[in-house]
Every structure is written in structure tokens, then in C-alpha cells.
């Protein structure tokens, strides 16, 4: 019968219209600017640098300026300059730190490859999506002061992932300390103890793709 399909279709739209008032599953409107969206834990947008504490973010950056992320970044939006001197890291070991660490968020495509290749868990994905700037170049080019966020913030946005990272880092630290203790005990032997950083990779158990990456060579000492 001609018109049967049309009537059937109208019945569908009528059902949907009624449903949109009575079916809670169909209340889909979000009052966005007033009510912030509930983002899934995995949500990612733009990287940030993890610092151990909020009080001294520049002094406790995990980044050791190894420049792997700078090299691997597909759109080449990361710029790093190594420091000339060394500063003690969280374990007290002197490390090179990034004198300049800048990310051009106008170029960044939030692909997460910097996070995957970082052997130090120093760069992680943020969830900040409402970025606006009046200046296209300076305003969107974030320097290390703007990028640094404390580990507590990381726990807040990616709780599961951050807990895994903390557990792994703690295990690595324990292994390094154990190794250092053994090395100190065996001081009498002429063989020098292996550098503590060599203990980093074998303790990795998480199926993160970075596990395939060999531990980076210890940073060359500055001339």
C-alpha cells in the first residue's frame, strides 16, 4: 500500500518524541559551561611535565632532558635545551635537567607518543581542553613553568595509571637502592658498581610499549 512506509516512519518519530520526554536514557543534553563534562579517565589532551612536588616544580621535574620525546614527536612540537649543570633528582642522584622545555600546543596533536617513549615517566597527558590564547605564537607556546604539574595532579586526572607509575617507580628506586647497598658492601672489590640507572628497565613489568625501548645511555657528563 502506498504510504504505509511513511506512516511507519511517522510512528517511529512519534515514539522517539515521546521517549525524549520520558526515557532517562534519552536525556542527553549536557549543560556544558555551567557543568563541566565528566571526562573518561583515559581522556587525553596535550602533554604536561610531571614534577614530584607542587612547592618546587622546577626543582623536582622528572625530566632529565634526554630528548627522546623531542626526536619522536611526529609534528615536532617539542623543543628542549639541556642544562649545563646537574641537579639532584628525587633519589638524590645528580641529573641533567631541561633548561628549556617548550611545547607548541598549536602544533601538538595529542597523539601521546611522547608519553609512550619517555623512559622516565616524566611527561604525561593532561585533560585540559579549553585552552584559549589571544596570541597565536607566544600564547600557545607553553614553557616548562606552564607545563610542570605536580604528581598529585596526575593522580587526580589518571588515578589508575598514576598508581601504576608510582608503584613501578618505587620498585625501581628500591632496586636501585638495594643495588647501591650491595655495591657499597662489595666496595672492597676493584670492580665498580654498575650505574644505578642500569637497573631501570628489567623491573618494568607493565605492558607499556616503552618497555621495548632499551634504557637510555647515562647522560654524557657536561664538559
Amino acid at each position: 500500500m502506498l504510504g504505509k512506509g511513511l506512516l511507519q516512519g511517522l510512528a517511529v518519530t512519534a515514539k522517539n518524541l515521546v521517549g525524549s520526554y520520558h526515557d532517562p536514557a534519552r536525556y542527553v543534553t549536557q549543560e556544558y559551561p555551567e557543568v563541566p563534562p565528566k571526562l573518561p579517565e583515559a581522556y587525553r589532551n596535550f602533554p604536561f611535565l610531571v614534577s614530584e612536588t607542587a612547592d618546587d616544580p622546577m626543582g623536582t621535574l622528572r625530566c632529565v632532558a634526554c630528548q627522546i620525546c623531542e626526536k619522536e614527536c611526529p609534528p615536532q612540537c617539542i623543543y628542549i635545551e639541556k642544562s649545563k649543570d646537574k641537579k639532584p633528582d628525587a633519589t638524590g642522584k645528580p641529573q641533567i635537567y631541561p633548561a628549556v622545555f617548550a611545547i607548541d600546543t598549536a602544533v601538538c596533536m595529542s597523539c601521546q607518543i611522547c608519553v609512550e617513549v619517555c623512559p622516565f615517566d616524566a611527561i604525561k597527558m593532561d585533560q585540559e581542553f579549553a585552552i584559549a590564547a589571544t596570541d597565536r605564537f607566544g600564547g600557545l607556546l607553553l614553557n616548562r613553568e606552564q607545563l610542570a604539574k605536580p604528581n598529585a595532579y596526575y593522580h587526580q586526572i589518571h588515578p589508575t595509571e598514576a598508581a601504576e607509575v608510582d608503584a613501578r617507580l618505587a620498585a625501581e628506586r628500591r632496586a636501585a637502592e638495594e643495588k647501591a647497598r650491595l655495591a657499597a658492601a662489595a666496595k672492597a672489590a676493584p670492580k665498580a658498581a654498575a650505574p644505578a640507572s642500569a637497573a631501570m628497565s628489567p623491573t618494568r613489568t607493565a605492558p607499556a610499549p616503552t618497555a621495548a625501548v632499551p634504557p637510555p645511555a647515562p647522560p654524557p657528563s657536561s664538559p
Binding site: G9, K15, P40, R44, I68, C111, E116
Partner: protein, 400 residues
Amino acid sequence: MMLPDPAATGLARVRKIEGDALGLRTPAFAPTEGAGDLLEVSLGPHHPSTHGVFRMDVVLDGERIVRLKPVFGYLHRNHEKLGEATSYLGSMPYTDRLDYLNSMTNNWAYALAVEKLAGIPVTERAEYVRVVLAELSRLLNHTCLAGFLMQDCGCSGTPLMYAFREREKILDLFESLSGSRMMCNVQRFGGCRVDPSAEWLAATRRLVDGYGAFLDEFEALLSGNEIVMARTQGVGRLPAALAVNAGITGPMLRASGVGHDLRKVDGYGVYPRFNFRVPIGRDGDVYDRYMVRMLEMRESIAILDQALRDLPGGPILDPKAKQRGLRPKAGEAYGRIEGPKGEIGFFLVSDGTGNPTRYRVRAPSFVNLTVLEDLCLGHTVADAVIILGSIDIVLGEVDR
């Protein structure tokens, strides 16, 4: 061309209500030679019906199209040359941006090419997860396509909004798994970057279980609708011979009655383990292209059902599989899969360094677009719009 035996693959024919039987008939077109002046019209590049920045230079005789020239390249991003300057891992997020509705299948095709090139085995769990993600992507693509096609037909709003409502559910799944709605970037060489949790799988199961009901509703709205039949049946016929000769793939080829589906022909991944049928059309018109996609979604639901049921445990990514600094031995590889739009393939040539020396994308939308003029000749401008809609192009992939 290698075609599967229809009996072996269990082809499903489109069930079609004939518009003619209901008294709906598209008037035949007889070109009138020299009857009047021809009019050249430029449709696009900023026309909503062109699905992006695409332009059609049409020459009209009255209301009928006598010549059509597709003009594209407005969205050219140098994708292939960038691929030659980027490491193998670095190209992965760029593939998201080809067909930006289906980053899951783009990722898979690229990962497959690199895995072939470097000889990387894929973990069992990842193979199943890839199938789940690819079929979800197919549901998303075909649902959107049907909505857009109806929008092109002039049915402004309702089907598109219903389609987007369902698409949003799939995008939520993608976002909670990969962290991004569209630029998912989940595949890695030898597996996937992320391992779906039990909650994610349960949510996917709920979506899959409810999707059939949505399709029933959507089809009740559209498939038997007399206006849809009048607008789409007999419009933009693609003969099977032309489709094969032009290298058309995907639902568009199958709508013309050619049962060619890489999931059956190549049997890549773990597809041979699943029981599903390949829907084919009869006339190759816009209606068949719509209907084939509707039926394909039903088959996708069947595949998802089986994949979610059989999903094995184990690692999702071999921790020894090299991602960064991959240097495959000199050689070449072509990885192709059945994307929602057709055969999406990546051809890579390695000279042993960290970047491919040649990186080529076989984009289904681009190849499918080449027959646009053949489909549109003799039809009206309004028909050209729905023919373009039924080809299912994404300009990110056409222009690259």
C-alpha cells in the same frame, strides 16, 4: 579478479521492495541534442552536500547533468610525503587523520603493512580487539552515512540526529578506551596500545546487544519509506563491470552485485574464525548502496557478538615488539583491510632506515569517487547530491 565462491561465503542478497510495484517510477531521461544552451554550475567547495571541501563542476542541460568534473585537493596535507619523513611509529597518529571517522581501521591497515614489512607477529588478544574496534567503526561509519544520505535527500534532521545519537555511544566507547573520540591512535606494531578492561567490554556488549533494536527502528523509518524509494531507486546505477574495472571496493562494489569482501578474500586477522555473510545488492543504485550498508551492520553485530564471546586473555602487545626506532629490512609490503568505505591499504617500501622510502595510501573514498561522473550523467543536480552521498567520501582521505 579473485572472487569468492558465493556458496562458500554465504552471500546475502538485498531484499528489495520494488518502488515500481508501488507506482513510483523515475522518469527516463532522453538527452536532447542541441535543444538549448548548456549551463555550467560549480557545486562546492563550500556546499553542505559535498561532505567537506569538494567541488563538482557540472554542465547542465536544463535540469540534467551532461558533464561532471570532480575537483578535489582542497584538503591536501602532504600525508604521503610526510610519511616518508616520519618514523614508522610517528606515522601512526597521522593515519587517524585520513578517514577521520574510522581511525580504528586506518590504524589497523597501517599496522598490518608495517607488521608485514618487519615480520612482527600479532598477539591473539590484539587480533580480536582489532576486530571488535574495526566492526564498531563500521557500525559508526554506516550509521553516519545513512544519516548523511537522508540529509542529502532533503530529509533534514531526523535520521541524521538518530544516527548521531548512536554514533555518540560508540564514540564514548572509543574515548574511554583510547582517550580520544576520533583520533584514537590505538594500534601498535604487534598489538594494541591499550587493553580493554572488563567494564569496557561489558559496555561494548550492552551497545552491541542494543544496536539491532536501533537498526530495526532506523529501517522502519527509512527502508520502506516511499519518498526514500522514489528518490533513490534507479538513481546512480553502477554496473558491476564498470565497478570492477574502476577498482571500486567496499559496500559500493557489493551493492553492484559483486561479492568481494577482503574479510573473506584475504581472511586477514582472525576473520576466518567468524561466521558472517557478505550482503550484496542487485542494481547498484543509491538504494542498494544504502541497503547493503544496513545489512552489513547486521553482519557486523554478528561478528562483534562472536568476537566478544571468544575474546581470549593474554597480552595485548608483545613487550618485545619494537615500536620506537623500528628499522625493517629493505623490502616492500602492502597491508590492506576491508575498511567501512572499501579497501584501505598502505604500501611501504623500506631501504633499511628508520623511515620508509615510499609511503603510499590506497584510499577507498578516492578510488570510489572516480566513477562519480558515470553515475551522475543524465540525472538531476539533486540526484548528484545523493549519488555523492551514497559513495561515502571523506575528504581527509580523498585529498590526503
